[in-house]
Amino acid sequence: MSRIGVFICHCGENISRTVDVERVAAEIGKLSGVAFATDYKYMCSDPGQNLLKKAIQEQKLTHVVVAACSPRMHEKTFRKAVEAAGLNPFLCEMANIREHCSWVHENREEATVKAIDIVSMMVERVKKNRILPGITVPVTKRSLVIGGGIAGIQAALDIADCGHEVILVEREPSIGGHMAQLSETFPTLDCSQCIMTPKMVDVANHPKIKLYTYSEIELVEGYIGNFQVTIKKKARSVDEDKCTGCGVCMTKCPQKKIPNKFDQNIGMRTAIYVPFPQAVPNTPVIDRDNCTWFKTGKCGVCKKVCGPGAVDFEQQDTLVVEAVGAIVVATGFDLYSIDEKPKGSPIKGYGEFGHGKIPDVIDGMTFERLASASGPTGGKILRPSDGKEPKQIVFIQCVGSRAREKGISYCSKVCCMYTAKHTMLYHHKVHDGQAYVFFMDARTPGKSYDEFWRRSIEEEEAVYIRGMVSRLYQKGDKIVVMGSDIAVGVQVEIETDMVVLATAVQPQKGADLLAQKLGISYDKYNFYSEAHAKLRPVECATAGIYLAGACQGPKDIPETVSQASAAAAKVMTLFSKDKLEREPIVARVREAGCVGCFACKKVCAYGAVEEKEIRDRQGNLIKVVAYVNPGVCAGCGTCQATCPSKCVELDGYTDEQIIAMIEAL
């Protein structure tokens, strides 16, 4: 006979407001097998847990049900308390009478009856709980970092400095990401390259960091502590070991007019190229789509001039498999484009801003390249159309962001600050020019941020106009901006030379595909989701995968760097132990009944089902059955639902337990 203890929590007033907890305790106390039932104001508090421990010992309880909030919130808390009192933690279950009952109902009588039902179901289920032994898995103390922007670089350096090997994978030919594109950074106006390139060089020289540039993640298998990652190294057409980075190939390449993506397509590059002079590694890549050799089979100038003979037209894509224990995802962001909307995209375009057809309407990143000393104009602000210096410049904030109708409802967070910075850079470079900013709100919640914004107005003479722009159109070589000033309450018209749009921050293209490979969740915008918005902001719900930077949501540099270091700390916490404890809520196969159809193997999303041969003593094969690797199993229960012969059972959720729960109703 089991002696079950039931503890009903008031959750302050969250539960007791709508549920008569005392009545629930009294009713549950009458159930068979229940030895002890009580209620308490805060079960999760220290006195609450002590009450639980004391009751287990005094009443000699065999099972425990805590009726409180969601198990996602406090299951671990109570299982730990139960374990401390000497019971197996898996003999404790939670009945959710907060999210599933008190928060969603108003009628006290009905809610109380429902709460009694919920708790009695859990009582029936816990009766059939078995003692589950913990599962330990080994940890591979190497880590993978996806993305070589500032987030990836910071995470990689932190982990590597701790003595663990890091594999850093970057899609582009050089690490550096968007931060390398920026001219100066707010709120201190220090040059982005100056603070970025030393870190890039540190990555390249770090003995513990293995750098894969121009590479992509092909496949991710395994589970926390034991991932196998297949990385596709795209053919660079240049032997990285032989290349000295002298750059002769780039000066001799006859294809010189290819728009450089790093310069937002304003500057030009050759077909064999490094994206920017400070690239790490400083090994060029041949852009096969634009290379004369790959298009016509003639040319080969780069190969002829290369002293060390590094150019290799025959190079193929190669696949490398790396074993790692943890993954940091730091794939960063991309900018919303006001061009006509791509087919099938839920995000709409900006017809009123000319759909990107007016050449002197540029986005913030293009302005960064214009203002950058290493940019295509050498740091001069010049119009893309005719190369003239704009004497009037209009900045428009919230283009794409906070525009539900266009498909994006979030705030991109960095635009207010970078626009303020742009007005300053413009004022420093064009002394007789005038900058205007159309904005809705100035959101500057960071250290020294508001002061920076105010400085752009009070000292750097930017004119901020609260109100949005309804339309832009070309008039001669000017752009007419039709807006409004809502503080004055009138329409405003400005004839300007150039317009800079603060376009929305979006996740990188293909972020969803990578998430599917990794098995992590993402929101409707393709930003990756954290396990808990407040308390687990750098971890994914999938164990062993961590997030850093703007792939999770728009972030500025200080925030990105903090999160990258936080993710690195999480990885180091994982690596601090040789073995990893896992929850033993896993599926088990009853081998006697298994017919080896492997329907379970087909449906398992985690690749946890393996084939196992059963042999007699002479070694003759009797049959092949399914075997669930407890290290890989995530306890989702799909196999249990699928098995035609009912031979897979998920511990803690067996058919017997579920039926007992239903019968309790």
Partner: protein, 194 residues
Amino acid sequence: MKKKKMVISQETMDVDFVRKVEALSGTSVRRCFQCGKCSAGCPMATFMEHPPNRVVRLLQLGQWQRVLAGRSIWYCASCETCTTRCPNKVDLASIMDALRKLSWDAEGASKESYVQLANKLFLQNIRTYGRQYEMRLAAVFNVKSGQFLKDLMLGPKLLAKGKLKMFHSKNKNMPEIEKIFTRIEEMRKKGEAL
């Protein structure tokens, strides 16, 4: 003027005028971030076509004509509630003062309230008589403003109480008074005074 579209450019933003206002009032209009607290507490705001915050906003955009064309600056009671409560230390009461002073010479300033006319006549009287001659002030004001019968019935009462005199009396030291006026006129020409 009030609702007319605002065309903004370096030419239409009169920064020099705004600088004058700032110098005269000793405060910066650029500091204002349009929270609206000045207008929230202003006892006269309901009478103004441009509430106090908008006066500052228009100055930020160099659109002083819009401000002076309205009567806001004349309705300001100089109670200084705005100045006291401003979170950004914008001394709006001083700005209003400065605007009233600058409106003397400004083109297109409001004539609606006849404040300037009254001021001018007042000073003319002082220059002519060395002291105020109320009868003439009232008569000329009524004629010039076209309101011939304005406050006419008040005249006999004031006369009876001796507050209003039929004939003027003159200051003995007229040349000294004239000196003051000439000096100020010269200073105004040089730009040393308003």
